[in-house]
Symmetry: C2
Subunit: 397 residues, 2 copies
Amino acid sequence: MSDYNTSIPRLKEIYQNQLFKDVLPFWMTYSMDTDHGGYFTSLDRDGQVFDTDKFTWLQCRQIWMFARLFNSVRPAKKWLDIALHGSEFMEKHGRDAEGNWYFALNQKGQPLTQPYNIFSDCFAAMAFGQLAKATGEDRHHQIAQVTFLNILKRQDNPKGEYNKAYPGTRPLKSFALPMILCNLVLELEDILDPEQVESTIREGIHQVMDVFYQPDLHNGVILENVTPDGRFSDTYDGRLLNPGHVLEAMWFIMDLAVRTDDQSLIDKAVEISLNTLELGWDKEHGGIFYFMDVQGHPTQQLEWDQKLWWVHLEALVATLKGFELTGNTKMWDWFLKLHEYVQRRFPDPKYGEWYGYLNRQGEVLLPLKGGKWKGCFHVPRGLYQIRSTLDRIPVVE
Amino acid sequence: MSDYNTSIPRLKEIYQNQLFKDVLPFWMTYSMDTDHGGYFTSLDRDGQVFDTDKFTWLQCRQIWMFARLFNSVRPAKKWLDIALHGSEFMEKHGRDAEGNWYFALNQKGQPLTQPYNIFSDCFAAMAFGQLAKATGEDRHHQIAQVTFLNILKRQDNPKGEYNKAYPGTRPLKSFALPMILCNLVLELEDILDPEQVESTIREGIHQVMDVFYQPDLHNGVILENVTPDGRFSDTYDGRLLNPGHVLEAMWFIMDLAVRTDDQSLIDKAVEISLNTLELGWDKEHGGIFYFMDVQGHPTQQLEWDQKLWWVHLEALVATLKGFELTGNTKMWDWFLKLHEYVQRRFPDPKYGEWYGYLNRQGEVLLPLKGGKWKGCFHVPRGLYQIRSTLDRIPVVE
């Protein structure tokens, strides 16, 4: 184990500078659509806009990010202005008549893609919940609340009429929604009634740690899809592992466990994180695989071996929080190993913001800084979480 | 230009052996589901079944392939038996009450995925049309005919209720369907009425060569998606190029042009093929990219730089047919260049059948021989087309 006493001050400086000097300025400079409102997210290496479509996930995540900075770092007017620049656009254009959030809009805000994707609603609830804390506006509060209740209503058939699965033959449930609810419920704690918060947390922890977690496979893994009664399904979807997803979920669980002061839940999340890293780490080229098959069969995802920015940021956060909360030095060692891998490949000090997509070898696969799925979210959120966690680790002089 | 006189006999031997000794035996040995009927297509490097789901595209393509061998190579009972083994399964399980073909079935034939994908119907029509020629059975003939008419009926909104695009904001039409109809109409020539054949051919050629072909972009490219009036759309979908698709379409067009004895159409298809190869060839690592952006922006397809088996087989067929039909030595040179690239990387003489997915560097990315999208189709069809075309090129002793 490296000596964290000596490295923590240096690490703090690195992550602090990247957040405030490399990453946030990139989005503040290049993403604002001053003609039609909202944000551009399809940005080339140097910030040039190469596509003007607006994706609800990314619009809402950027609203959330700037509102969160305003609420947690300092109440800077410029940050709130940026959040409001996005929220006004989304409030006006983002929803259908039933309050479901479209997946994509064009530059002017006209809907492009129907609300088939419930995660649009999750990120909208998160954005307006965080914004409500900043503005105190009843309107923002209302949007967050109504959207959250709509998610709960839709959660048993999230794709609704756009679901292409034939009913009944192979019912599988997916990890993504219960996992996101574990994070969302803390975001909306002030807005929801306490009963709702408690029951959502209980159910979220149960789903993640009892239902999707399979102790008998590979020393314990979390599957992306299981049968309705929580069993392994020997099918393409059933065999799927997404290590980045699991690591992200594990720090959500740690946050919930801190809130309820549940040390054994923290220990379990650390154990699962370590197993996931062991399984997901590419022993040949380094980095964490995007997708794997739990039985080692070929995945249907052709991009399985790519190294994605968000996977590695979530891994950094999970390992550092795990170390903070348990002192388990294996987590610290993994954090440092990830840090070395990541810092050499993802950041772009020349133009700011990080690359998103590396090939298996760790070379840049797509030079974009933002696109249809990458926006102002995982990098700044991850840097912020790392910086804040480093602040909480006591350094013995 | 290499001397084709000396290389043609050697090439014939290579492609003949690969078809009959390496590839067909692989599928005949490993793909038959003798318990439930139909074919396994998710096969590991050595032919082991790693998943039992049955995908309509691949079931139908394998029926087609063996019926085609029976009709065109020799009427071997074993080939017809294999085709019937698949057709019986699909006849029984493949369609919904309206005659639309499901996208996926489980091993027993229960539907897994709704008929959202009109290409399932295209490959079904192709399979039963070719089978009808082999069996003379009215039943097979009927299925092909009814399915074809259903495709024409659905072609303006192929995804039907499963279409997630919001109506009206950005209507785009896609190249894949008109392109496949160019091939399908020749497959079904005996079954359709002559008027229908002629009008489908006329419309297919018009769509491919006038509407999707854009003479002003990069010396002429064929786009994957255009506006309803055939213009370029500066959007993710509008900028998309799929060089393999274009090369496959160009040999379909050459086949149609041969039928109508249209030399200028052949010349045009050769010109487009050469431009596509020039644009799509990876100058750094060799091979043809899977996806590109016509303006050089990042694609949304993360697998854009991978080298896929079908792309390279279609390129081999297009270049060889183009050379056969025009004597253009640039096409012969490309054929040889592709041959060198392909033969070194895709075939697996140890277990038979070719690898499907290579990374940009040309290394095996997924060791499977078949999966959700790769079955008994592009490799044997390509080898068969190459062998037959080589037969037609006169060698001067």
